[in-house]
Symmetry: C2
Amino acid sequence: MEARTYPEFSTHYPLLLTTIMRRPVRMYPDQIGVVYRNHLSGEYFRFTWDQWYRRVCRLANALSSELDVVAGTPREPGDRIATMALNTHRHLELYFGVPGVGATLHPVNVRLSPEHIVYTIRHAQDRVLFFDDALLPLVEGIYDHIKDVVQRFVYLSDKPGLPETRIANLIHYEDLLARQPEQFDWPALHEDVNATLCYTTGTTGQPKGATFTHRQLYLMTVHVMAQMAIANTPSIDIEDGLGVRLGESAVPLLNTPMFHIHAWGAPFIAVYSAQKIVLHGTFTVQGFCELVEREKVTSVGIVATIAAMLLEYPDLHKYDLSSLVRVNVGGGALPLGLKKKLEALIPSFRMSSGYGMTETAPTIVTSFIKKDLVDLDREQTDALLVKAGLPILGVDVEVVDDDGKPVPKDDQTVGEIVVRAPWTTERYFRDPEKSAELWRGGWLHTGDLAKVDAHGYITIADRIKDVIRSGAEMVPTVLLENLIAMADFVQEATVVGVPDPVWGERPMALVSVRTGFEADEYAVIDFLKTHGVDTGRITKWMLPKLVAITRDIPKTSVGKYNKKRIRDELDRFLAIARDVSDRAS
Amino acid sequence: MEARTYPEFSTHYPLLLTTIMRRPVRMYPDQIGVVYRNHLSGEYFRFTWDQWYRRVCRLANALSSELDVVAGTPREPGDRIATMALNTHRHLELYFGVPGVGATLHPVNVRLSPEHIVYTIRHAQDRVLFFDDALLPLVEGIYDHIKDVVQRFVYLSDKPGLPETRIANLIHYEDLLARQPEQFDWPALHEDVNATLCYTTGTTGQPKGATFTHRQLYLMTVHVMAQMAIANTPSIDIEDGLGVRLGESAVPLLNTPMFHIHAWGAPFIAVYSAQKIVLHGTFTVQGFCELVEREKVTSVGIVATIAAMLLEYPDLHKYDLSSLVRVNVGGGALPLGLKKKLEALIPSFRMSSGYGMTETAPTIVTSFIKKDLVDLDREQTDALLVKAGLPILGVDVEVVDDDGKPVPKDDQTVGEIVVRAPWTTERYFRDPEKSAELWRGGWLHTGDLAKVDAHGYITIADRIKDVIRSGAEMVPTVLLENLIAMADFVQEATVVGVPDPVWGERPMALVSVRTGFEADEYAVIDFLKTHGVDTGRITKWMLPKLVAITRDIPKTSVGKYNKKRIRDELDRFLAIARDVSDRAS
């Protein structure tokens, strides 16, 4: 007699996002799980986990029955469902409801150019588009270019009723949900079914669509959580008594846009942890401060430019932000100077860095204090926490030279970061050529340059494409940027290469000055000489030869310095730049 | 052009124990990772992670080349390799080296009867047996019954040289390692290859062999770690400032025998976390105290009987055990009385409970304080922490009635615990019949009875086979045991059913009295009346009708009360029991 076995509930128990979604409903059905504040109206919406889950079930019923969405298989993704939405409870419902029925969620990056938005929707062949009321003009603007692909449009709004619009067959999300039953029998999907499709920002060509399966997103989630369990940083979490508010008691504000690579995984981690999730529509400095104070937010992920905006906000002192103890900075380097300035202003803040990219889902590297370094002083641990950090458990990260050999751990030699992990994208959607460029020799090539110190901490040096080659040497751009950011008077700073007939390229710094401070171009060079050259951090030939003081430094859709645009519009910046080569020598 | 993709490094990156093994070597190569104290000689052995890893590589080379071990496939397990070993660095090497080459590790429970040991080795068809020097007499005793199955015997010893023995072709482990290279090219196994084979204790028939794949053990490990990240118990970990010593800085003492269901997963969790692991051979109360003091052990898993032994140890006060902050009690109920007595004696101790069984690998339920209950006082949180607890994330646990319907959450209604999890065994090794009994209707049936409170905390009521039926009612055995354990004078207590012509069964209590205390059988009943009946926790008819004071309560090989043996030897206990039915009414 051969027994009936149940691999689907044991050896092959599928790793699905629905498992993540169900946990808080089971643990805390009647507690407020999701708080959304409309950033325009200032209105609050609160949902218990049970209420939120019933809405996800209604959505799933609507997708399966009314919208006839086709589920995927391990070989073939299901229908692509696009969102053009900010950080709302509805977007969080779509994050679980769409993959839960076996379809692929495509969160459209609404900060891309309209052309790129059209490109991603057409490339993904999105069948349904859910969009926020605030984005109606944007959707109307591209409507003619996508209406042959997108079959149904769903309107996401706090307010009832449909707008006047030429978009045909528009459905109101709340109407769609209202007519559906509030229980749903989730299909037993294969864990290899595609769950999401996230396009890169396309700073170097057309956006590419990184694909992720349920298994991959599930594994990223539990690994990041496991990493948190072992990588507590005693000097930060415990001795200050701050850890008390973390764990499942943490209150994360989902600040990173949910259209940007799973908001760094926060929606999955927060839901699985059954933490109260705070959603703010989109970042406004006043909305941010109000939510932190009112909801007692403990944790947030930001980019350096948002930190710079907080630094500049004149009303900052009016808010009690002391609940906020964990601030992860991603999407680029965390300048030590920025960290120090903001932590001086808000003493509860503890900022640390990390590293990842669209193709890595994104979390692969985070900074924390290793156990053999916990006795270092604040100055020294701060210097570690601004580094990109260490690979999280389960991830292979190497920094390799041109021959694929790991660079020495001397914190000097620069190589390319290459990665393998259970959640790195296997391939771009329908783009075998770019997929082949991404994966070479069994490693995902990030295109980011970095160095490694003796303890294994990785520091991002540059994007390969942003490297400045001056003579035979490479200018350490990110190091220069971080040094400039140390100056009290500096709000933001970036450095790009300017073509030069003699040297090939020469570095130009774009610097914005903090409100209330005054400084000219020479002040930047003088600061770099005193705090860079004289301290041995850089050598003289690395000094920028051009400095432009401007409040208009171009950013990408995710808040990074947009060096491609700076290079594209170089004449504009050269026109306002001062040649400081007399001082920079 | 179709790109070469690398699913093996992304979507299908295999979840393997070798990934766990490699992490500490990478993170802390030169730190002491493994400390072993020989419990007989008192000698210490210390290994850096790099040294330990080189030894695992040598072992893997020996297994692959010299011992010609065959690797498994997803369909067919590789060669079974048995260990008869205590908790040593060598056993930890085998824990990773054997599955790492694709073979199946079978850690033989050396506390089983010799007959059962022979049965498990023959049933598993173990090809190689690694055994400790201390267990030589045991192995010699069974040698004739296993020598046709086991082809090679390997001798594990701190001392060089082989003993005088009739075991043919014996190899010394250290000689085996010495002649092998210290690098090994780990095979790219499929994650579904079988990794371990763990036999049940066979209290109700022949032991059954639960099988676990790499994927299963890997997933158990990261889920338990993720659970730790969210289920911190502020009142325990943080406000007391104790958390500072946990995370990767924790120092676990692997107290649970490694031949007992993966030592509750501790070897995998500790290695992946890169914690310093302390191994003690086998538990002796003096060795335990010495190791905790000397190595500053922070965390340990124990069974209630070991807690009782610590309570009885007269020299306990001579040791500084204050580093020990996290004590998980498994393998049966944690009596609140025992917890209180031991925490009074060692104030740094924080004991909490959990639940699992061989078939669940074992971790599926742990106790912690939910975030809506953290403001309860010590008395109330203690009462929660002695419950088995809550399902950990990723696990489906239900307590169901005879129709498979979840029981009400009234903390009263008793049902059977049924489970599904990515790491529950799919089937017993070569035993379709028992596998079919285990899995019914898509749920693993634990055979354990429990109730659930309004917050979801599960309390184990009884083994189905241990239930006492008195008249039409079920006597809540575990509740009685826990109540009796509250008495100051009680060291251990268990309750079994005795056949009765009128009632079917009547409860009999076996109680051991703490050194320095005096109490007779009536004292037990009087205590139960005052603290059980008068407080409404039990009703009068539940009171034991027989009480035996004895220091000889039978235990299973894993330290649980052996109710089967008590029932088998009932006459012996009836002979010393006093009929207290006059008082128990």
